[in-house]
Amino acid sequence: MKITQLRSYPLTKVYVRLSFFILLFSWPVLSHATVFHDSLGRDVMLCSVPRRIISLAPSITEIIYFLGLGDRLVGVTKFSYFPGEAQKKPKVGVYTDINVEKVITLNPDLAIATADGNKREDVEMLEEVGIPVYVINPRSINQILDTIEKLGEICGVPDRAKRLVSALRERVARVVKAATKKGRPLVLLVIHVKPLMSINRNTIHHDIIRSAGGRNMTGDQPITYPRLSMEEVIKKAPDVIIISSMKRGGEFKKARKEWFRWHTIPAVRKGNVYLIDSDLIDRSGPRIVRGLEEMARLIHPEIGWDERQ
Amino acid sequence: MDSELILKDVYFSYDNQWCLEGIDFELKKGEVVGMIGPNGSGKSTLLKIMDGLLKIQKGEILLLDKPISSYRRGEIARQIAMVPQESTFRFPFSVFEVVLMGRFPHLGLFPFEGKEDLEIAHQSMRLTGTLDLARRSIHELSGGEKQRVLIARALTQRAQIILLDEPTSFLDIRHKVEIFELISSLTLTQGLSVIIVSHDISLAAQYCHSMLLLNKGSVYIIGEPSEVITADTISTVYQCPVLVDKNPISKTPRVTVLSRRGEGKKEMV
């Protein structure tokens, strides 16, 4: 219907004029405002491409830098020490306790949180003061990679993100292909020495072990971070013991020596007691792929891994 | 109508056994009555009954000719005051504050004491010789001093009837006498009526107008000290051989406990 033909319908004329005006004034807002759905199904509305980002967890900091958006980061949490530049950024607390006041003073237009670690109260508080919070919740290696792509999209660099992440996906595929051919050794991943603690299937660590061609000794324990007795370990007889430690050197040597008392354990007998940098497997960020590669190297040393990092 | 308190055929039990049976008693105005009897005979219970703190199952208690059950607790407190055997103040109050607490039954809705209340407290302390203890903490006092303060508190209640539950049990001989002296003179000067429960039989006999010997929950005998306190009554009720003679000074009964060694080691009770 041509606009001129509408003259004979007075009410419609009003509607059309009204809509035109509304459209005119809301155009600037509508054109940039986008609603994203985060991993918890929450609607996060961003009025423009985020330029002042707060990372509420170290893994998120790594993702932002990975996407080349480090200069947009205006605040990080305490243990965001990788990459080195991140240490110079203002601190907003620890990821388990965010100082909302500090966040406000940094005037962000987006905060990114993780469901595994950040307190729900902190997220709610930030929302109440009007700061959009995007919550990620990756539960497997693939989901981590998807998350990195999604964050890239939100931050306005979807193509770059896609490119970077497919390189990562390639590396993952290579490892999985090679490692899962050669049988599955039983692996015990020790995340805490005293008390002895491991991880069950509800963790990314489990996914890493699996993808690296191993079998998680504590996979079907009911508790996410179960405490183990030495008896249990002796009974289950793992082939590989990997200690995830946040400190290097001395502590590991001591821990390793402790294990060598129990020579009935196959892992101990064969000398398969190793250390892995916990950052590589604890942080749900781009370095998880290195963690996977490292894990595969420890579980399947027989495979000639070349340094295609 | 010069009986302050009348008990008629009173029965009381805590559960299914009678603790007190068939008690008949009258407290006359201006009288000091000594209540004696062995442990477990029901003395403390009887005091509580008289104060209206426990409900009797049978019989009647008349306070100023009205049944005690018809009074509200606050009204009773304005007529009857109790001085306990011992009082533990969990937190430090000054002596003056403790004595002033006796005004509780008289303070209405307004929670602060007026000039009159303060004056009454002062007076009570003067009468009991505790005025110079006023600022001291109740915790610092000796046994005798504390008892006098508690008596002062009872006086502050402006009650006409004062019940004392073994006020001298923890006191040395000097202070025992002091307390009895005090009670005696107060009864005279303030027109009080007093019941004292005591194990100090001979001492009580010197100060009481009449005595009541309680045995297994019922009145064994009641009357003047010389009637009530005899070798026969005491040794029967207390189940312990005694010798009863006359105090040469006061001419009141004096009880001497006979030791099992047969010789009669003189022990004044």
């Binding site: 305490k78 601190k91 907003v92 607390g93 388990t96 306790d97 100082n99 909302v100 006041e101 500090k102 406000i104 003073t105 005037n107 469901a115 595994d116 950040n118 307190k119 729900r120 109260e121 709610e124 508080m125 003061v129 009007g130 508790i223 996410t224 405490r227 | 104060d51 703190l53 607790r73 009773i76 407190a77 005051a81 109790m82 306990p84 009082s87 533990t88 103040f89 969990r90 937190f91 430090p92 109050f93 000054s94 003056f96 504050e97 607490m101 006796g102 509780f104 039954p105 303070l107 929670p111 602060f112 004491e113 407290a121 002062h122 005025l131 006023a134 600022r135 903490s137 915790h139 209640q157």
Partner: protein
């Protein structure tokens, strides 16, 4: 008439003391408003509070949405716990009593933890469940301890201790089997966390706290008497059992309520009454308002320190109350000897 002058408590004394403590309260609050990671000067705070000039958006946001509700909650919690401590110490005739002693703390904790496990929000869900937990526990404890309609102090205390111990074990079970952000939420709640203050919560609880406190204050003289012995008090006309029921329920109600917002903050209810008693005497007509206001001042100060000492990290406020409270209290105890128990 010498020797006992100005010993009695007059309305004037109470008002005077209340005035001074309220003044201190206001000053501490204003100072606290100006402290934090965001730099807001005391002058700005004053201009904002008096409405003299408006402050910029960020400052307003921080003052009104973050700091002020927190300070108000700290004041309210300190007020409530201290009044609970005073009344419990008198009624139970026990210097070690404090409002959590009858199981309110672990009951509230269990409720909160269940709320957290089920993923409820911190605006309504968790506080509501926490409050229900507190209420359930206090009714349980009182139910177990009541004999012939009366509440015996020692039975109450013992039952409270046992219920606390049992629930604490349940709490430890939850902690051992939870992970991730839920675990952190639980731990923070258990340590005491005043940062989740909302105006809705405050406006709901403030009137109730004031009403219950008012009722308890009306019983000040009765409490004085009970300190000297339940029997003596009874004799003089205090309805001891009724008072116990009303007080235990009332205090547990308001304690449960504020605890459901703030988590468990220990020490305040125990030591503030003692400190006030040392300086102002044991008469509850003065002690109750003094403890309430003193408790507010104390907790606001402690929370402010907790906020700024390791900024931008925060210490749990319970750490500060214990760190401040314990040595000071021991010092006072040594100075004044054991006036609190009689052999």
């Amino acid at each position: 008439m010498r020797g006992s002058e100005d010993q009695e408590i007059t309305p004037l004394k109470v008002i005077y003391t209340g005035f001074i403590l309220s003044g201190i309260l206001i000053i501490i609050s204003l100072i606290s408003l100006s402290l934090g990671p965001a730099k807001i000067s005391l002058k700005d705070v004053l201009t904002w509070v008096t409405g003299y000039k408006s402050v910029d958006q960020t400052a307003w946001m921080i003052l009104f949405k973050i700091r002020l509700p927190r300070i108000l909650l700290a004041g309210l919690v300190g007020f409530t716990l201290s009044i609970g401590g005073v009344v419990f110490q008198a009624l139970l005739r026990n210097p070690l009593a404090e409002p959590f002693i009858l199981g309110v703390s672990s009951g509230a904790a269990i409720g909160a933890i269940i709320g957290i496990v089920f993923g409820l929000g911190f605006n309504l869900g968790v506080p509501l469940l926490s409050f229900m937990g507190a209420l359930f526990t206090i009714l349980l404890v009182m139910g177990i301890s009541s004999r012939h309609g009366g509440l015996e102090s020692s039975t109450l205390l013992l039952t409270g201790v046992i219920v606390n111990a049992f629930f604490t074990a349940v709490i430890m079970f939850f902690i051992a089997t939870t992970s991730g952000s839920r675990l952190h939420s639980m731990l923070f709640w258990l340590y005491g966390d005043l940062s989740q203050s909302r105006y809705v919560q405050l406006s709901l609880s403030l009137p109730i706290v004031l009403i219950v406190s008012g009722i308890l204050y009306a019983f000040s003289r009765h409490l004085n008497l009970i300190v000297g012995g339940e029997e003596s008090a009874l004799q003089m006309g205090v309805e001891v059992e009724l008072l116990k029921w009303i007080s235990f329920l009332g205090i547990s109600l308001i304690t449960g309520m504020v605890t459901s917002f703030s988590g468990i903050i220990g020490f305040v209810g125990l030591i503030v009454p003692h400190i006030m008693r040392m300086f102002l005497g044991s008469d509850h007509r003065l002690l109750i308002p003094a403890s309430a206001l003193g408790g507010a001042v104390f907790l606001i100060s402690a929370d402010t320190l907790a906020r700024i000492i390791l900024s931008p990290s925060e210490l749990p406020v319970g750490v500060i109350t214990a760190f401040l409270g314990a040595p000071f209290f021991i010092y006072l105890l040594k100075q004044r000897g054991s006036q609190w128990t009689q052999s």
